[in-house]
């Protein structure tokens, strides 16, 4: 075989249609259809319902009334504000509890670290409603907490229906979502960096604020997102710990859809919710960036 022929063979070989490998791509088609029908179209439907009003002739009327109504009703702005307020307080408290915890866990031996993280994540596997109901029982006027307070001579306090109870319940439910990402970034920080900072004369607190904290920022950010979004939209915690006094945006959407059957209105509220959450996430990211710039 001449070298020329060989090289052309080689070229042919390299250019051969790799139909077999390409066939794998075709396997994606069912999933693509699935995504289209059950993810993309439904999202589009929310927008469609939000900007239309139902009428008898099945004609579609474009309108912004659904949005205008939301902002007209005083009660709804309060619902939105309550949701944002409660979720931000929850996120801050969860962060303040989780960061020291994750930091301390990193100081233990490796095997013990893994055990502690496992122990902290086990409750995540237990039905969230049951865990919330457990707190309802503990905080109720005839519950264990008030009994202990009674021994101390304190009159029974009705915790249920207060910010305290709602935030406590949310912190309890979302704690692992904050601890785990922070632990993951903290445990990957190279000890040498901290040693270097200390050797170069930085105090312990300066080392923490200038080295450890900035390096753990990605973990904090992912923890914040994982707590902020669900806590703003949860139905369960306000239902059980709010004593009917807490009506958050999730509950409002539930009411519009499942109780009053006002789908268009409910869709508009869902969109407002998405926009508010996006703004909050955008602001948090900005704050994060600012933080880094400052450190540089």
């Amino acid at each position: 075989m001449s070298p020329k022929k060989l090289s052309s063979h080689l070229k042919d070989y390299l250019k051969r249609p790799r139909t077999a490998l390409d066939k794998f791509k075709l396997l994606g088609i069912p999933y693509l259809l699935f995504l289209l029908i059950l993810v993309a179209i439904p999202m589009f439907l929310i927008f469609l319902y939000a900007i239309t009003i139902p009428n008898k002739d099945d004609a579609i009327f474009l309108t912004l009334t659904n949005f205008v109504n939301f902002f007209k009703e005083e009660g709804f702005i309060k619902v939105l504000w309550d949701s944002v307020r409660i979720s931000i307080i929850t996120t801050i408290v969860t962060l303040l509890v989780s960061y020291p915890l994750a930091y301390i866990i990193c100081e233990y031996k490796l095997k013990f670290q893994a055990l502690l993280i496992l122990v902290i994540s086990i409750p995540m596997w237990i039905n969230m409603l049951l865990r919330t109901i457990a707190w309802k029982q503990i905080l109720s006027t005839s519950g264990p907490l008030n009994t202990v307070l009674g021994w101390l001579g304190i009159a029974p306090i009705n915790f249920l229906g207060t910010d305290f109870a709602v935030v406590l319940g949310m912190v309890y439910i979302f704690l692992p979502f904050m601890v785990i990402p922070i632990y993951n970034t903290l445990s990957k920080i190279d000890d040498k960096l901290i040693e270097a900072s200390l050797d170069l004369g930085a105090s312990k607190s300066r080392t923490f604020f200038k080295v450890t904290l900035p390096l753990s920022m990605p973990g904090i950010m992912s923890g914040v997102t994982m707590v902020l979004l669900p806590s703003a939209t949860t139905l369960v915690v306000p239902r059980f710990l709010g004593e009917g006094r807490y009506f958050l945006i999730g509950n409002l959407i539930e009411q519009k859809f499942l109780k009053s059957g006002l789908w268009n209105y409910g869709a508009a509220i869902s969109i407002i919710l998405m926009i508010v959450l996006m703004i909050i996430l955008f602001v948090t990211k900005k704050v994060d960036k600012y933080h880094f710039d400052e450190e540089d």
């Binding site: 994606g28 915890l101 866990i105 237990i126 039905n127 969230m128 309802k136 139905l235 499942l258």
Partner: protein, 262 residues
Amino acid sequence: MKKRKFNFANFYVILVLIFCYAPIISLMIFSFNSDRSLTNFESFSFEWYQKLFDDSQVIQAILNTVFVAVVTTIISTIIGTIAAIAISRMRKVLRDGLLALNNIPMVNPEIVTAVALLLLFLSLGIGQGYITMILAHITFTIPYVIITIYPKLRSLDDNIVEASLDLGATPMATIWKVIIPQIKSVIIAAISICFTLSFDDFVISYFTAGTVNNISIYLYTLRRLEPTINALSTILITGVVLVLVINGIIKRKKRDFNDEEE
């Protein structure tokens, strides 16, 4: 980080652990209380368990939950695994696009996914029940299957797949005999994630299940919380802990086995 001894730190960890487990333990203890009180432990009894099993609504809810979780897990794992294999073979543009679409149900607040699916079923005129609930569960679990399996697929050696194809194996045989065995561990992880997500789901089921109850919907719509709930919790928690412990033992045995082999 260096190991140091500080007592305040230990104290803080213990405090958080008490916070995490006190509610769970109190639920379990009072499930055996003969009285309905949550503070006075009268005497040990199985009264609430008896009442729980006599309540046909609870039993139906548990059966529904298990049924939906099993069907969802089977379908999601199959579609998800195949989709992940396909995605790993796609060109970058298409791949990134699909993965972005895949992320929507994970980054969206649950309630938005729930509303979106409800609107779809309403527009198509599909009556809500088991089928819509299972479709909804498949929708929100597949993304987790894909993000669990996909990174492992990317780390596999392409040459092995090519070798298999060049040696005359059909693509189907290659997937079955070459790719799947290499990603077995992540498929098992995906199965357990899928099952748990479906089993514990509330919001999405609540919006899409119509009159079908699962455990979460049952609890949410209860008018009065009876101590039977404590009995139900105890059973479910024991189940979770048992699975985790067995899982841990299997992992340890496997590791010991591998150590011996080496």
